[in-house]
Subunit: 148 residues, 2 copies
DNA sequence: ATGTATGCAAAACATTTGCACCTGG
DNA sequence: CCAGGTGCAAATGTTTTGCATACAT
């Protein structure tokens, strides 16, 4: 029961929070913006104010239930936290997101933070590229392609 | 002479562009938001409209003169491109930014993209942590600390 | 009850754009 | 001269906030 998850996270089990959490769990999309959650809930007949979506997602983040990502898009995307850490590879054409884990990279990051004297709290690794489907499709390119 | 750099980049050597480029080169801060560039130029007595700063920085990015970063802050920061690629480690308390290069991580990223069938165009790696000075200082924490 | 959460509308930001005017080549 | 650049103000898109009302415990 999700209300238990919420209480365990220190949050009152209110209806909007339950709807949002349930939706994140049931959605097949793992990465969603606040707006997307809002619209999807609307379509499902569940009305939750957009401001509430933002507030709740921010609380979920603070509680460790979700992770907030800043892809190169100008808005945040949220992802339900399922325990296992992973990084992301994002298609610059269609926006598709794949996940991966690489122990070598993880280890090097920790070592680098240590060498610099930092106490590492978090990290974000995004690889940008053109996904297999878009490569086949060929064609038009986005502003995000090819910089740094 | 900077006007040559601009022309080489395919940009007319206008006064605002020169001021901005010069400022980026002379500033001791390597990572600056549009707003920061704007204010710094103002203080230096150089008036350039904020909209122009945004336009010019975006053009510089397209021309490869600067790189745009999306740290966990809600706005873009720009960095003059000096040729050598590097990644960043950002202090979640004071905002300090250090740079590093790790060939092993670079190589693994390419391999991962390849395995997933992506044609890699770019990547962003940010390590977040508490820098040596802030660790000594101890104390209050920011929202950004401890998730993922 | 009562402290918190929500909804709505307004505010706050970061960034972009329309348009009349200015400027570099 | 003239295409392209700039400034300003208004528009946009995202996220936050103030406040009166509704809710969980």
């Amino acid at each position: 029961m999700e209300s238990q998850d919420l209480k365990r996270a220190g949050l009152k089990a209110t209806l909007p929070r339950l709807k949002i959490l349930r939706f994140l769990e049931e959605s097949d999309q793992r990465h969603m913006s606040a707006e997307e959650v809002y619209k999807a809930l609307l379509e499902a007949g569940e009305e939750v104010g957009l401001a509430t979506i933002y507030r709740v997602l921010t609380q979920f983040e603070a509680a460790g239930l979700v992770t907030r990502h800043h892809f190169d898009e100008g808005h945040s995307v949220f992802e339900l936290n399922l325990g296992e850490h992973h990084d992301h590879i994002v298609c610059v054409r269609c926006g598709r997101v794949d996940e991966f884990v690489d122990e070598v990279i993880e280890a090097r990051q920790h070592r680098i933070a240590e060498e610099k004297g930092y106490e590492m709290t978090d990290h974000a690794l995004y690889i940008y590229g053109v996904c297999p489907e878009c490569r086949k499709a060929g064609g038009r390119r986005t502003r995000a392609e090819g910089r740094g």
